[in-house]
Protein backbone atom coordinates (compact mmCIF):
# COMPACT_ATOMS: atom_id res chain seq x y z
CA UNK A 1 0.00 0.00 0.00
CA UNK A 2 1.27 3.41 -0.77
CA UNK A 3 1.99 6.25 1.55
CA UNK A 4 -0.70 8.82 1.37
CA UNK A 5 -1.80 11.51 3.67
CA UNK A 6 -5.26 11.53 5.10
CA UNK A 7 -5.40 15.13 6.10
CA UNK A 8 -3.96 18.32 4.87
CA UNK A 9 -1.17 18.49 7.35
CA UNK A 10 -0.16 15.03 8.41
CA UNK A 11 1.25 12.23 6.41
CA UNK A 12 0.11 8.86 7.61
CA UNK A 13 0.93 5.44 6.47
CA UNK A 14 -2.09 3.43 5.53
CA UNK A 15 -1.71 0.41 7.71
CA UNK A 16 -1.99 -2.67 5.63
CA UNK A 17 0.12 -5.74 6.17
CA UNK A 18 3.51 -4.84 7.57
CA UNK A 19 5.14 -6.77 4.75
CA UNK A 20 3.59 -4.72 1.97
CA UNK A 21 6.29 -2.83 0.08
CA UNK A 22 5.94 0.90 -0.32
CA UNK A 23 5.07 1.51 -3.94
CA UNK A 24 5.28 4.87 -5.66
CA UNK A 25 2.35 6.91 -4.36
CA UNK A 26 -0.25 7.61 -7.00
CA UNK A 27 -1.58 10.81 -5.52
CA UNK A 28 -1.15 13.09 -2.57
CA UNK A 29 -1.65 16.49 -1.02
CA UNK A 30 0.89 19.23 -0.33
CA UNK A 31 4.01 17.69 1.12
CA UNK A 32 3.11 14.08 0.31
CA UNK A 33 6.00 12.02 -1.02
CA UNK A 34 5.77 11.28 -4.72
CA UNK A 35 3.89 14.45 -5.59
CA UNK A 36 5.42 16.90 -8.04
CA UNK A 37 3.79 20.32 -7.98
CA UNK A 38 2.84 19.89 -4.35
CA UNK A 39 6.13 18.29 -3.25
CA UNK A 40 8.00 20.16 -0.54
CA UNK A 41 6.71 21.45 2.77
CA UNK A 42 3.27 20.47 4.04
CA UNK A 43 0.41 22.92 3.86
CA UNK A 44 0.67 23.79 7.55
CA UNK A 45 4.14 25.22 6.88
CA UNK A 46 2.63 27.79 4.55
CA UNK A 47 4.21 29.40 1.54
CA UNK A 48 7.52 28.00 0.39
CA UNK A 49 10.17 30.71 0.49
CA UNK A 50 12.52 31.46 -2.37
CA UNK A 51 15.41 30.05 -0.35
CA UNK A 52 13.50 26.84 0.33
CA UNK A 53 12.38 26.60 -3.25
CA UNK A 54 15.91 27.07 -4.61
CA UNK A 55 17.33 24.62 -2.11
CA UNK A 56 14.77 21.97 -3.00
CA UNK A 57 14.70 22.36 -6.77
CA UNK A 58 17.71 24.40 -7.76
CA UNK A 59 17.61 27.48 -9.96
CA UNK A 60 16.42 27.16 -13.56
CA UNK A 61 19.22 28.40 -15.78
CA UNK A 62 17.64 30.07 -18.76
CA UNK A 63 20.56 32.22 -19.89
CA UNK A 64 22.23 29.72 -22.19
CA UNK A 65 19.07 28.05 -23.50
CA UNK A 66 17.71 29.13 -26.86
CA UNK A 67 13.98 29.81 -27.07
CA UNK A 68 13.71 27.18 -29.79
CA UNK A 69 15.37 24.53 -27.59
CA UNK A 70 13.03 25.42 -24.77
CA UNK A 71 9.99 25.11 -27.02
CA UNK A 72 11.28 21.77 -28.31
CA UNK A 73 11.54 20.57 -24.72
CA UNK A 74 7.95 21.61 -24.08
CA UNK A 75 6.85 19.91 -27.30
CA UNK A 76 8.60 16.69 -26.25
CA UNK A 77 6.91 16.81 -22.86
CA UNK A 78 3.44 16.82 -24.43
CA UNK A 79 2.20 19.28 -21.78
CA UNK A 80 -1.47 20.19 -22.23
CA UNK A 81 -3.01 23.34 -20.77
CA UNK A 82 -4.57 22.69 -17.37
CA UNK A 83 -7.37 25.22 -17.55
CA UNK A 84 -9.91 22.79 -18.96
CA UNK A 85 -9.53 22.94 -22.73
CA UNK A 86 -6.32 20.87 -22.73
CA UNK A 87 -4.67 22.76 -25.57
CA UNK A 88 -1.06 21.70 -26.33
CA UNK A 89 1.28 24.18 -24.64
CA UNK A 90 4.00 23.81 -27.28
CA UNK A 91 1.61 24.76 -30.10
CA UNK A 92 0.66 27.89 -28.22
CA UNK A 93 4.28 28.83 -27.56
CA UNK A 94 5.27 28.21 -31.20
CA UNK A 95 2.40 30.34 -32.45
CA UNK A 96 3.27 33.20 -30.08
CA UNK A 97 6.95 33.05 -31.02
CA UNK A 98 6.16 33.09 -34.74
CA UNK A 99 3.59 35.92 -34.60
CA UNK A 100 4.51 39.56 -35.11
CA UNK A 101 5.00 41.74 -32.03
CA UNK A 102 6.66 41.19 -28.66
CA UNK A 103 4.79 38.45 -26.83
CA UNK A 104 3.39 38.80 -23.34
CA UNK A 105 2.81 36.00 -20.84
CA UNK A 106 -0.33 35.88 -18.70
CA UNK A 107 -0.62 33.61 -15.68
CA UNK A 108 -4.32 33.07 -15.21
CA UNK A 109 -4.80 32.46 -11.49
CA UNK A 110 -8.28 33.96 -11.30
CA UNK A 111 -9.90 30.56 -10.83
CA UNK A 112 -13.49 31.73 -11.16
CA UNK A 113 -14.86 28.23 -10.69
CA UNK A 114 -16.45 28.62 -7.24
CA UNK A 115 -15.47 25.30 -5.65
CA UNK A 116 -12.11 24.94 -7.35
CA UNK A 117 -9.05 25.69 -5.21
CA UNK A 118 -6.14 24.25 -7.16
CA UNK A 119 -4.72 27.48 -8.53
CA UNK A 120 -5.27 29.40 -5.29
CA UNK A 121 -3.63 26.62 -3.34
CA UNK A 122 -0.70 26.33 -5.70
CA UNK A 123 -0.18 30.10 -5.70
CA UNK A 124 -0.41 30.18 -1.94
CA UNK A 125 1.96 27.27 -1.29
CA UNK A 126 4.33 27.30 -4.29
CA UNK A 127 4.31 30.79 -5.81
CA UNK A 128 7.91 30.45 -7.00
CA UNK A 129 7.08 27.38 -9.04
CA UNK A 130 4.43 29.34 -10.93
CA UNK A 131 6.71 32.36 -11.37
CA UNK A 132 9.56 30.13 -12.57
CA UNK A 133 7.20 28.62 -15.13
CA UNK A 134 6.08 32.04 -16.29
CA UNK A 135 9.73 32.98 -16.83
CA UNK A 136 10.32 29.77 -18.75
CA UNK A 137 7.36 30.57 -21.01
CA UNK A 138 8.54 34.16 -21.41
CA UNK A 139 12.01 32.95 -22.42
CA UNK A 140 10.55 30.40 -24.83
CA UNK A 141 8.62 33.07 -26.74
CA UNK A 142 10.80 36.11 -26.09
CA UNK A 143 8.22 37.94 -23.99
CA UNK A 144 9.18 41.14 -22.18
CA UNK A 145 6.45 41.14 -19.57
CA UNK A 146 4.52 38.79 -17.29
CA UNK A 147 1.05 39.47 -15.99
CA UNK A 148 -0.44 37.51 -13.12
CA UNK A 149 -4.22 37.70 -13.33
CA UNK A 150 -5.66 36.90 -9.93
CA UNK A 151 -8.79 37.72 -7.97
CA UNK A 152 -8.83 39.88 -4.86
CA UNK A 153 -10.89 37.35 -2.94
CA UNK A 154 -7.93 34.93 -2.98
CA UNK A 155 -6.29 36.89 -0.22
CA UNK A 156 -3.81 34.33 1.03
CA UNK A 157 -2.74 33.40 -2.47
CA UNK A 158 -2.25 37.02 -3.44
CA UNK A 159 -0.29 37.79 -0.28
CA UNK A 160 1.97 34.83 -1.02
CA UNK A 161 2.41 36.02 -4.59
CA UNK A 162 3.38 39.54 -3.57
CA UNK A 163 5.77 38.22 -0.94
CA UNK A 164 7.32 35.91 -3.52
CA UNK A 165 7.78 38.76 -5.98
CA UNK A 166 9.46 40.79 -3.23
CA UNK A 167 11.82 37.88 -2.44
CA UNK A 168 12.79 37.59 -6.09
CA UNK A 169 13.43 41.29 -6.34
CA UNK A 170 15.60 41.24 -3.23
CA UNK A 171 17.52 38.26 -4.57
CA UNK A 172 18.16 40.08 -7.84
CA UNK A 173 16.07 37.57 -9.76
CA UNK A 174 13.46 39.94 -11.13
CA UNK A 175 14.63 39.71 -14.72
CA UNK A 176 11.24 40.55 -16.21
CA UNK A 177 8.61 42.99 -14.99
CA UNK A 178 5.68 41.17 -13.38
CA UNK A 179 2.36 42.95 -13.12
CA UNK A 180 -0.36 41.64 -10.83
CA UNK A 181 -3.84 42.45 -12.09
CA UNK A 182 -7.07 41.93 -10.20
CA UNK A 183 -9.67 39.92 -12.11
CA UNK A 184 -13.23 41.25 -12.05
CA UNK A 185 -16.07 39.35 -10.35
CA UNK A 186 -17.55 37.27 -13.04
CA UNK A 187 -17.55 33.58 -13.79
CA UNK A 188 -16.57 34.09 -17.42
CA UNK A 189 -13.85 36.68 -16.60
CA UNK A 190 -11.27 33.89 -16.50
CA UNK A 191 -12.00 32.74 -20.04
CA UNK A 192 -8.94 33.41 -22.21
CA UNK A 193 -10.56 35.89 -24.60
CA UNK A 194 -12.13 37.70 -21.63
CA UNK A 195 -8.72 37.92 -19.94
CA UNK A 196 -7.19 39.34 -23.11
CA UNK A 197 -10.05 41.78 -23.54
CA UNK A 198 -9.74 42.97 -19.94
CA UNK A 199 -5.97 43.36 -20.10
CA UNK A 200 -6.37 45.31 -23.34
CA UNK A 201 -8.39 47.86 -21.40
CA UNK A 202 -11.90 46.65 -22.24
CA UNK A 203 -14.47 44.69 -20.28
CA UNK A 204 -13.67 41.16 -19.14
CA UNK A 205 -16.02 39.73 -21.74
CA UNK A 206 -15.43 36.66 -23.86
CA UNK A 207 -14.89 37.50 -27.51
CA UNK A 208 -15.09 35.31 -30.50
CA UNK A 209 -12.15 36.45 -32.57
CA UNK A 210 -10.89 34.76 -35.68
CA UNK A 211 -7.37 34.85 -34.24
CA UNK A 212 -6.21 32.94 -31.17
CA UNK A 213 -4.75 35.04 -28.32
CA UNK A 214 -1.34 33.47 -28.88
CA UNK A 215 -1.34 35.19 -32.27
CA UNK A 216 -3.23 38.42 -31.62
CA UNK A 217 -3.81 39.08 -27.94
CA UNK A 218 -3.37 41.99 -25.54
CA UNK A 219 -3.18 45.19 -27.60
CA UNK A 220 -2.50 43.05 -30.66
CA UNK A 221 0.55 41.38 -29.14
CA UNK A 222 0.95 37.60 -29.12
CA UNK A 223 -0.29 36.54 -25.71
CA UNK A 224 0.36 33.25 -23.95
CA UNK A 225 -2.52 32.87 -21.51
CA UNK A 226 -2.40 29.78 -19.34
CA UNK A 227 -3.73 28.53 -16.11
CA UNK A 228 -1.36 28.86 -13.11
CA UNK A 229 -1.00 25.09 -12.82
CA UNK A 230 0.24 24.85 -16.41
CA UNK A 231 3.11 27.24 -15.66
CA UNK A 232 4.08 25.26 -12.58
CA UNK A 233 4.40 22.16 -14.75
CA UNK A 234 6.54 24.17 -17.14
CA UNK A 235 8.91 25.05 -14.30
CA UNK A 236 9.45 21.38 -13.54
CA UNK A 237 9.78 20.38 -17.21
CA UNK A 238 12.53 22.97 -17.62
CA UNK A 239 14.37 21.38 -14.68
CA UNK A 240 13.82 17.67 -15.04
CA UNK A 241 13.05 17.27 -18.73
CA UNK A 242 10.25 15.79 -20.81
CA UNK A 243 11.11 12.15 -20.06
CA UNK A 244 10.65 12.69 -16.35
CA UNK A 245 7.47 14.68 -16.92
CA UNK A 246 5.75 12.00 -18.94
CA UNK A 247 6.46 9.31 -16.36
CA UNK A 248 3.29 10.59 -14.70
CA UNK A 249 -0.07 10.59 -16.37
CA UNK A 250 -0.73 8.83 -19.65
CA UNK A 251 0.85 9.12 -23.12
CA UNK A 252 -2.16 11.12 -24.32
CA UNK A 253 -2.21 13.48 -21.32
CA UNK A 254 1.22 13.30 -19.69
CA UNK A 255 2.16 14.75 -16.33
CA UNK A 256 0.41 14.96 -13.02
CA UNK A 257 -2.87 16.83 -12.51
CA UNK A 258 -4.27 18.87 -9.65
CA UNK A 259 -7.85 18.28 -8.65
CA UNK A 260 -10.05 19.85 -5.99
CA UNK A 261 -12.36 17.81 -3.80
CA UNK A 262 -15.58 19.58 -2.93
CA UNK A 263 -19.04 19.01 -1.54
CA UNK A 264 -19.64 16.14 0.84
CA UNK A 265 -16.03 15.17 1.51
CA UNK A 266 -13.90 15.22 4.64
CA UNK A 267 -12.11 18.45 3.73
CA UNK A 268 -13.97 20.47 1.07
CA UNK A 269 -11.48 22.43 -1.00
CA UNK A 270 -8.68 19.91 -0.50
CA UNK A 271 -6.33 19.93 -3.47
CA UNK A 272 -4.93 16.57 -4.50
CA UNK A 273 -2.25 15.93 -7.07
CA UNK A 274 -2.89 12.87 -9.22
CA UNK A 275 0.41 11.36 -10.32
CA UNK A 276 -0.39 7.80 -11.34
CA UNK A 277 -3.38 5.82 -12.55
CA UNK A 278 -6.14 5.89 -9.94
CA UNK A 279 -9.89 5.61 -9.96
CA UNK A 280 -12.18 8.34 -8.72
CA UNK A 281 -13.32 5.96 -5.99
CA UNK A 282 -9.78 5.41 -4.79
CA UNK A 283 -9.19 9.13 -4.40
CA UNK A 284 -12.56 9.77 -2.75
CA UNK A 285 -11.95 6.90 -0.35
CA UNK A 286 -8.49 7.90 0.80
CA UNK A 287 -8.65 11.67 0.45
CA UNK A 288 -12.35 12.44 0.72
CA UNK A 289 -13.12 10.16 3.65
CA UNK A 290 -15.89 8.32 1.78
CA UNK A 291 -16.39 4.64 2.48
CA UNK A 292 -18.87 3.91 -0.28
CA UNK A 293 -19.92 5.34 -3.60
CA UNK A 294 -21.99 8.51 -3.12
CA UNK A 295 -25.25 9.10 -4.95
CA UNK A 296 -23.57 11.31 -7.55
CA UNK A 297 -20.45 13.26 -8.39
CA UNK A 298 -20.18 16.48 -10.36
CA UNK A 299 -17.06 16.39 -12.46
CA UNK A 300 -15.17 19.24 -14.09
CA UNK A 301 -16.85 22.31 -12.62
CA UNK A 302 -20.34 23.75 -12.32
CA UNK A 303 -20.61 23.65 -16.09
CA UNK A 304 -19.47 20.05 -15.92
CA UNK A 305 -21.12 16.68 -15.86
CA UNK A 306 -23.00 14.73 -13.21
CA UNK A 307 -22.30 11.04 -13.05
CA UNK A 308 -23.68 8.51 -10.62
CA UNK A 309 -21.38 7.58 -7.77
CA UNK A 310 -21.31 3.93 -8.86
CA UNK A 311 -20.24 4.85 -12.36
CA UNK A 312 -17.65 7.29 -11.04
CA UNK A 313 -16.21 4.94 -8.45
CA UNK A 314 -14.39 2.67 -10.92
CA UNK A 315 -13.68 5.36 -13.50
CA UNK A 316 -10.01 6.28 -13.90
CA UNK A 317 -9.36 9.86 -12.86
CA UNK A 318 -7.52 10.73 -16.02
CA UNK A 319 -8.14 13.46 -18.57
CA UNK A 320 -7.88 11.35 -21.71
CA UNK A 321 -9.92 8.44 -20.43
CA UNK A 322 -12.67 10.74 -19.21
CA UNK A 323 -12.65 12.58 -22.53
CA UNK A 324 -13.16 9.29 -24.38
CA UNK A 325 -16.26 8.72 -22.25
CA UNK A 326 -17.65 12.14 -23.11
CA UNK A 327 -16.71 13.51 -19.70
CA UNK A 328 -14.27 16.28 -19.00
CA UNK A 329 -11.94 16.81 -16.10
CA UNK A 330 -12.36 20.52 -16.83
CA UNK A 331 -10.78 22.57 -14.07
CA UNK A 332 -10.24 19.41 -12.02
CA UNK A 333 -13.25 19.75 -9.74
CA UNK A 334 -14.58 16.59 -8.12
CA UNK A 335 -17.69 17.60 -6.18
CA UNK A 336 -19.52 14.93 -4.20
CA UNK A 337 -23.26 15.26 -3.74
CA UNK A 338 -24.41 14.57 -0.19
CA UNK A 339 -26.47 11.39 -0.01
CA UNK A 340 -29.24 13.34 1.75
CA UNK A 341 -29.31 16.06 -0.89
CA UNK A 342 -31.40 16.05 -4.03
CA UNK A 343 -29.40 16.29 -7.23
CA UNK A 344 -32.21 18.08 -9.02
CA UNK A 345 -32.52 20.75 -6.33
CA UNK A 346 -28.75 21.22 -6.39
CA UNK A 347 -28.77 21.42 -10.20
CA UNK A 348 -31.51 24.05 -10.10
CA UNK A 349 -29.47 26.07 -7.64
CA UNK A 350 -26.25 25.88 -9.67
CA UNK A 351 -28.08 26.58 -12.91
CA UNK A 352 -29.73 29.70 -11.50
CA UNK A 353 -26.30 30.93 -10.52
CA UNK A 354 -24.80 30.09 -13.92
CA UNK A 355 -27.66 31.94 -15.63
CA UNK A 356 -26.85 35.01 -13.53
CA UNK A 357 -23.20 34.80 -14.54
CA UNK A 358 -23.82 35.33 -18.23
CA UNK A 359 -21.84 38.28 -19.52
CA UNK A 360 -25.01 39.31 -21.35
CA UNK A 361 -23.58 39.35 -24.83
CA UNK A 362 -25.20 36.44 -26.63
CA UNK A 363 -28.93 35.86 -27.02
CA UNK A 364 -28.90 32.10 -26.47
CA UNK A 365 -27.12 32.64 -23.13
CA UNK A 366 -29.07 35.73 -22.01
CA UNK A 367 -32.47 34.20 -22.75
CA UNK A 368 -31.68 30.50 -22.89
CA UNK A 369 -30.08 30.00 -19.48
CA UNK A 370 -32.79 31.76 -17.44
CA UNK A 371 -35.41 29.77 -19.38
CA UNK A 372 -33.58 26.55 -18.58
CA UNK A 373 -33.16 27.59 -14.97
CA UNK A 374 -36.86 28.27 -14.64
CA UNK A 375 -37.81 24.88 -16.07
CA UNK A 376 -35.37 23.09 -13.77
CA UNK A 377 -36.65 25.16 -10.82
CA UNK A 378 -40.15 23.90 -11.59
CA UNK A 379 -38.92 20.32 -11.66
CA UNK A 380 -37.11 20.83 -8.36
CA UNK A 381 -40.28 22.29 -6.88
CA UNK A 382 -42.35 19.38 -8.16
CA UNK A 383 -44.66 21.52 -10.28
CA UNK A 384 -43.58 20.14 -13.67
CA UNK A 385 -45.27 17.70 -15.97
CA UNK A 386 -43.92 15.44 -18.71
CA UNK A 387 -44.49 18.13 -21.33
CA UNK A 388 -42.25 20.53 -19.40
CA UNK A 389 -39.51 17.93 -19.42
CA UNK A 390 -39.73 17.67 -23.19
CA UNK A 391 -39.55 21.44 -23.44
CA UNK A 392 -36.51 21.46 -21.17
CA UNK A 393 -34.71 18.94 -23.37
CA UNK A 394 -35.54 20.94 -26.51
CA UNK A 395 -34.38 24.17 -24.90
CA UNK A 396 -31.15 22.59 -23.74
CA UNK A 397 -30.40 21.15 -27.16
CA UNK A 398 -31.05 24.51 -28.80
CA UNK A 399 -28.57 26.29 -26.52
CA UNK A 400 -25.74 23.76 -26.84
CA UNK A 401 -22.73 25.06 -28.77
CA UNK A 402 -24.12 28.58 -29.13
CA UNK A 403 -22.64 31.85 -27.96
CA UNK A 404 -19.16 33.33 -28.03
CA UNK A 405 -17.78 31.20 -25.19
CA UNK A 406 -18.35 27.85 -23.56
CA UNK A 407 -20.58 29.19 -20.77
CA UNK A 408 -24.02 28.29 -22.22
CA UNK A 409 -22.77 24.88 -23.30
CA UNK A 410 -21.46 24.25 -19.78
CA UNK A 411 -24.88 25.03 -18.34
CA UNK A 412 -26.45 22.61 -20.81
CA UNK A 413 -23.94 19.93 -19.78
CA UNK A 414 -25.07 20.37 -16.19
CA UNK A 415 -28.77 20.10 -17.06
CA UNK A 416 -28.58 17.21 -19.49
CA UNK A 417 -26.29 15.14 -17.28
CA UNK A 418 -28.59 15.81 -14.31
CA UNK A 419 -31.60 14.48 -16.22
CA UNK A 420 -29.60 11.38 -17.07
CA UNK A 421 -28.07 10.85 -13.64
CA UNK A 422 -31.07 11.60 -11.43
CA UNK A 423 -33.67 9.55 -13.30
CA UNK A 424 -35.40 8.08 -10.22
CA UNK A 425 -35.52 11.49 -8.54
CA UNK A 426 -36.86 12.99 -11.76
CA UNK A 427 -39.74 10.51 -11.88
CA UNK A 428 -40.60 11.38 -8.27
CA UNK A 429 -40.47 15.10 -8.89
CA UNK A 430 -42.70 14.75 -11.95
CA UNK A 431 -45.25 12.96 -9.76
CA UNK A 432 -45.10 15.91 -7.42
CA UNK A 433 -43.24 13.99 -4.71
CA UNK A 434 -40.66 16.54 -3.74
CA UNK A 435 -37.62 15.73 -1.68
CA UNK A 436 -37.54 16.97 1.87
CA UNK A 437 -35.36 20.05 1.73
CA UNK A 438 -35.06 20.27 5.52
CA UNK A 439 -32.13 17.83 5.64
CA UNK A 440 -29.90 20.79 4.91
CA UNK A 441 -26.67 19.12 3.86
CA UNK A 442 -24.00 21.64 2.97
CA UNK A 443 -24.56 22.40 -0.72
CA UNK A 444 -21.85 23.22 -3.19
CA UNK A 445 -20.31 26.63 -2.49
CA UNK A 446 -21.47 29.63 -4.50
CA UNK A 447 -19.88 33.06 -4.26
CA UNK A 448 -23.09 34.87 -3.36
CA UNK A 449 -21.05 37.60 -1.81
CA UNK A 450 -19.56 38.25 -5.22
CA UNK A 451 -22.78 39.63 -6.60
CA UNK A 452 -22.42 40.42 -10.24
CA UNK A 453 -23.12 43.78 -11.77
CA UNK A 454 -22.66 44.35 -15.43
Amino acid sequence: MSVISTSDDSVLEIESSAMAPLAEPLFGVAGSPGTRLLAGPARSLGTETLAGHDHRLGIVELDDVTPQALRDTVRASGLLGRGGAGFPMATKLDLAAASPGTPIVVVNASEGEPASRKDHTLLELRPHLILDGAHVAATAVGADEIVVYSHHANRRANAALLRALGERRDAGRANLPVRVINAPDRYVAGETSAVVSYLSGNGALPRRGAQPAAKVGIAGRPTVVNNAETFAHLALIARFGPAWFSQAGTPEAPGSTLITLAGSVAVPGLVVEIVGPVTIGHVLESMGGLDAAPRAVLLGGYGGTWITGEAAWCTPLERHHLGARGLSLGCGLLAVLDDDACGLVETARLLRWLAGQSSGQCGPCVFGLPALAELVDDIAAGTSRRADLRRLREHAASVRGRGACGHPTGAVNLVESALETFTPELAMHLRGEVCDPSGGPAPFPLPHERAVRR
Partner: protein
Protein backbone atom coordinates in the same frame (compact mmCIF):
# COMPACT_ATOMS: atom_id res chain seq x y z
CA UNK B 1 -12.65 15.85 -37.64
CA UNK B 2 -12.90 14.71 -41.20
CA UNK B 3 -13.58 18.11 -42.76
CA UNK B 4 -11.40 18.78 -45.79
CA UNK B 5 -8.63 21.27 -45.27
CA UNK B 6 -10.09 23.84 -47.65
CA UNK B 7 -13.68 23.53 -46.45
CA UNK B 8 -15.66 26.73 -46.09
CA UNK B 9 -18.13 27.07 -43.25
CA UNK B 10 -20.45 29.83 -42.16
CA UNK B 11 -20.14 30.89 -38.54
CA UNK B 12 -21.89 33.39 -36.30
CA UNK B 13 -20.42 35.54 -33.56
CA UNK B 14 -23.13 35.05 -30.97
CA UNK B 15 -22.10 38.21 -29.14
CA UNK B 16 -22.91 40.29 -32.22
CA UNK B 17 -26.09 38.58 -33.37
CA UNK B 18 -29.08 40.77 -32.51
CA UNK B 19 -31.69 38.53 -34.03
CA UNK B 20 -32.53 40.56 -37.13
CA UNK B 21 -33.29 37.26 -38.82
CA UNK B 22 -32.42 38.21 -42.39
CA UNK B 23 -29.86 35.42 -42.68
CA UNK B 24 -32.47 32.78 -42.01
CA UNK B 25 -34.47 34.05 -44.99
CA UNK B 26 -31.44 34.12 -47.27
CA UNK B 27 -29.92 30.80 -46.22
CA UNK B 28 -32.75 28.77 -44.73
CA UNK B 29 -31.02 25.43 -45.35
CA UNK B 30 -28.22 26.36 -42.95
CA UNK B 31 -29.64 28.99 -40.61
CA UNK B 32 -32.69 28.81 -38.43
CA UNK B 33 -33.87 31.16 -35.72
CA UNK B 34 -34.23 29.91 -32.19
CA UNK B 35 -37.25 30.64 -30.03
CA UNK B 36 -35.73 33.99 -29.09
CA UNK B 37 -35.02 34.93 -32.69
CA UNK B 38 -31.28 34.44 -32.70
CA UNK B 39 -29.48 32.74 -35.56
CA UNK B 40 -28.70 29.08 -35.03
CA UNK B 41 -26.27 27.76 -37.59
CA UNK B 42 -25.42 24.48 -39.18
CA UNK B 43 -21.67 24.89 -39.46
CA UNK B 44 -20.97 21.84 -41.62
CA UNK B 45 -18.69 22.71 -44.58
CA UNK B 46 -20.53 24.19 -47.54
CA UNK B 47 -19.71 22.38 -50.76
CA UNK B 48 -22.62 23.28 -53.03
CA UNK B 49 -21.71 26.44 -55.03
CA UNK B 50 -25.26 27.76 -54.92
CA UNK B 51 -25.43 27.38 -51.17
CA UNK B 52 -22.06 29.07 -50.91
CA UNK B 53 -23.32 32.00 -52.99
CA UNK B 54 -26.34 32.36 -50.71
CA UNK B 55 -24.06 32.05 -47.68
CA UNK B 56 -22.09 35.02 -48.98
CA UNK B 57 -25.27 36.96 -49.42
CA UNK B 58 -26.28 36.12 -45.87
CA UNK B 59 -22.92 37.35 -44.56
CA UNK B 60 -23.45 40.61 -46.40
CA UNK B 61 -27.05 41.01 -45.38
CA UNK B 62 -26.36 40.82 -41.63
CA UNK B 63 -26.81 44.33 -40.19
CA UNK B 64 -24.85 43.35 -37.08
CA UNK B 65 -21.86 41.97 -39.03
CA UNK B 66 -22.23 38.81 -36.98
CA UNK B 67 -21.76 36.30 -39.78
CA UNK B 68 -18.55 35.22 -41.43
CA UNK B 69 -17.33 32.59 -43.81
CA UNK B 70 -14.27 30.78 -42.56
CA UNK B 71 -11.94 28.49 -44.38
CA UNK B 72 -9.10 26.71 -42.65
CA UNK B 73 -8.16 28.27 -39.30
CA UNK B 74 -7.26 31.94 -39.57
CA UNK B 75 -8.44 32.59 -43.12
CA UNK B 76 -11.71 34.27 -42.24
CA UNK B 77 -10.55 37.74 -43.21
CA UNK B 78 -9.29 36.75 -46.63
CA UNK B 79 -12.48 34.99 -47.59
CA UNK B 80 -14.43 37.99 -46.51
CA UNK B 81 -12.38 40.44 -48.52
CA UNK B 82 -12.83 38.37 -51.64
CA UNK B 83 -16.56 38.49 -51.13
CA UNK B 84 -16.42 42.27 -50.92
CA UNK B 85 -14.54 42.51 -54.17
CA UNK B 86 -16.89 40.12 -55.87
CA UNK B 87 -20.01 41.93 -54.82
CA UNK B 88 -18.58 45.23 -56.01
CA UNK B 89 -17.69 43.90 -59.44
CA UNK B 90 -20.94 41.95 -59.65
CA UNK B 91 -19.00 38.84 -60.42
CA UNK B 92 -21.16 35.74 -60.19
CA UNK B 93 -19.83 33.61 -57.39
CA UNK B 94 -18.44 30.30 -58.38
CA UNK B 95 -17.19 28.94 -55.10
CA UNK B 96 -13.71 28.93 -56.55
CA UNK B 97 -12.05 29.24 -53.17
CA UNK B 98 -13.60 25.98 -52.09
CA UNK B 99 -11.72 24.26 -54.87
CA UNK B 100 -8.49 26.23 -54.62
Amino acid sequence: MTTPANAIRIVVDGSRCDGHGICALVLPERISLDRWGYASLDSEPITDPKTLARARRAVHACPALALALVGPVGTAVRVRRRIDRRSRTNNPSTGAEAAS
